[in-house]
Symmetry: C2
Subunit: 376 residues, 2 copies
């Protein structure tokens, strides 16, 4: 294999935006290759493709977001070389019953059109091996692309995640728990180009899935680096005690606690230059994830909150969690459940929430999100 | 066919929440059947399923959100009746090479376990037709379910959208344009149980796809009713004129305009008792959909903004648009493009935005979102 031929996503990207996208992706690929200890001559783009020249082995580019698919390929200067190469590939064609050539021509300067290239190259194969052409369901699929003066030949196309290169969109703070949803939310925002600062509130030091989840998610950051901030909830035990002193306020515990976390995420974001907060909220997934409660939790935030799972079903979320590799970690242990009221509110009233929040802060004498961040 | 057997979604739904979910879904199914002019005896639930008794025809229940799948089924009082029925179904088994029985028992009161039910019923089929059992890839799949004293037999399982019944989560205002994204965003929030108030800003009265998009989306509202508010942007032409007077402000046109729309959506939501706003934003899909611009647009809103597509790629969004039927309408015509600056900002500065917004409002002498809503 001489090169890796990489296909890019986002059909809607055009003009200047496309150039910025390609540059960011090339940089991420370079970082990723270095991190993986893969030697290479260069990473360059041509005709809407990206090429890794002479890598020391095939990298697992499904870890680099922004790539739609990639093929380990061989490079040739003319069509005769392509034909000779294919005639030599007994390992591919011997014993196979059918094949097809899928040819393309990135620039029209080459005298043969794509179907003619396919035909000529195909004849070299059928002339050398007892194999039939099958356009619909071939056993062997051969790609031949003519790009800026060279031919590229490949036998395999490996799917990537698509999306945008991590980092291109700026930073976001993700509230990550040990559950199934928030790691998926983080991944989806990474796939839209965000660089992530993970913020975790640790309730149960015994069961800590976060380092493992962080490692998996960071593996998609193409060596660009993400960041993990873990805050110990024990430090604000008073906060929970004050909430539980009054059974009416206790019913609002979840809403007050999530609000506290969002405020902490906002403070952290403002400190770190992040431009928004991400949560794993999915509307009505649990009884307390109502529009009323979400509205109360988010009240008074100055930064936008993004919830990429807000419109998804649990099964869809689980499917993504499985394919990115976080599912198995998320379901491993269950944390100690929160000391919730037996009937937590499912329809938080905004004014009541506001009053309770003020009451708890007054009793405490400090804002719990400020305390927990400062003592970090 | 005697009944429709309906399977529900949301594996995580439990307890009281489940009851509320089932009641809302039954009500939506009743409304849908009435709207479609389908007669029926009743809609009831048993053992986690919903049944439509004696409908006059098979309804297209893929239009009712909250349903995972459904099967037109026949009802029998004992297993002998099931066997007689299957022996009589020449139309199904004659000529077919293989079949399987998939049996289940909702309550354990019935003496035979599921595999035994399958075996006994299957023997009736093999005794009557020259057909083989094939558990892996059967030509005919027969479902037999024992639920609360009755057997239900079916040959087909039709997929629904899953999710939650429309209306169960409360109301949201969706900013709908004629594009591909916002109808998909609306659909996804409907699928999470939201009842939708559509808000459209009409720029080009010649090309009006909104009534058609509204009709398609409303068809998923199970007769629960949605609402469409169309505002004529001509009424605030001054707003655009003031923006264009200063080329620096003109660069912020998109951000100022989206902010105006969000403010109008918020006012409408507060008036109509809706608890949030929905947009079709997808991070970095176009050059101007940046975290900086989104942050500026959303500044100072009191209601949460939900963007279910924020973490999705264009191809994923287009796929959903195609399957719900809005894609073909969205791509039909293109509206007159906005008189944008040649280099619209992709990194709105929050303070600058704030100042420009104040400047434009001061020049106008009124808040454009208030004017356009009042004159509606």
């Amino acid at each position: 294999m001489d090169i890796i031929l990489i296909r890019l996503g986002e059909i809607s990207l055009k003009g200047a935006n496309r150039g910025r996208f390609e540059d960011a992706l090339k940089e991420n690929i370079r970082n990723f290759l270095k991190k993986e200890g893969i030697n290479f001559f260069g990473v360059r783009s041509a005709s809407g493709r990206i090429f890794i020249d002479r890598p020391s082995r095939v990298p697992n580019l499904s870890k680099v977001l922004g790539i739609v698919s990639y093929s380990p390929a061989w490079e040739f200067v003319d069509i005769e070389e392509v034909k000779d190469f294919l005639r030599s590939r007994e390992d591919i064609f011997k014993g196979a019953r059918s094949f097809r050539i899928t040819a393309s021509r990135a620039d029209k300067s080459y005298p043969l059109a794509s179907p003619q290239i396919a035909k000529e190259v195909g004849t070299a194969v059928t002339g050398n091996f007892p194999i039939a052409v099958n356009l619909k369901e071939p056993e062997v699929n051969v790609g031949v692309e003519y790009i800026e003066g060279s031919f590229y030949v490949y036998f395999e196309t490996i799917k990537g995640w698509g999306g945008l290169p991590v980092g291109i969109s700026g930073k976001l703070v993700v509230l990550i728990s040990g559950g199934i949803d928030s790691p998926v939310a983080a991944f989806l925002m990474m796939k839209r180009g965000a660089r992530i600062i993970f913020l975790h509130f640790r309730r149960d030091p015994e069961i800590d899935k976060i380092p493992e989840l962080y490692k998996i998610l960071s593996s998609y950051a193409a060596g660009i680096g993400s960041e993990l901030v873990v805050l110990d909830m024990k430090k604000i035990n008073d906060f929970y005690e004050k909430i539980m002193e009054d059974p009416r306020i206790h019913r609002y515990m979840c809403v007050l606690c999530k609000h506290m976390m969002l405020k902490a995420a906002e403070s952290l974001a403002l400190k770190k230059g992040a431009m928004g907060i991400v949560t794993g909220d999915s509307l009505a997934q649990v009884a307390s994830q109502t529009l009323e409660n979400l509205k109360a939790q988010r009240y008074g935030l100055r930064l936008p909150v993004y919830s990429p799972l807000i419109g998804m079903d649990k099964v869809e979320i689980m499917k993504i969690a499985r394919s990115i590799g976080t599912y198995e970690v998320s379901i491993k242990h269950r944390e100690i459940p929160c000391p919730l009221h037996r009937h937590p509110t499912t329809k938080a009233d905004l004014e009541t929430f506001f009053r309770y929040n003020e009451t708890v802060i007054k009793k405490l004498g400090y804002k719990p999100w400020e305390k927990i961040l400062k003592e970090h």
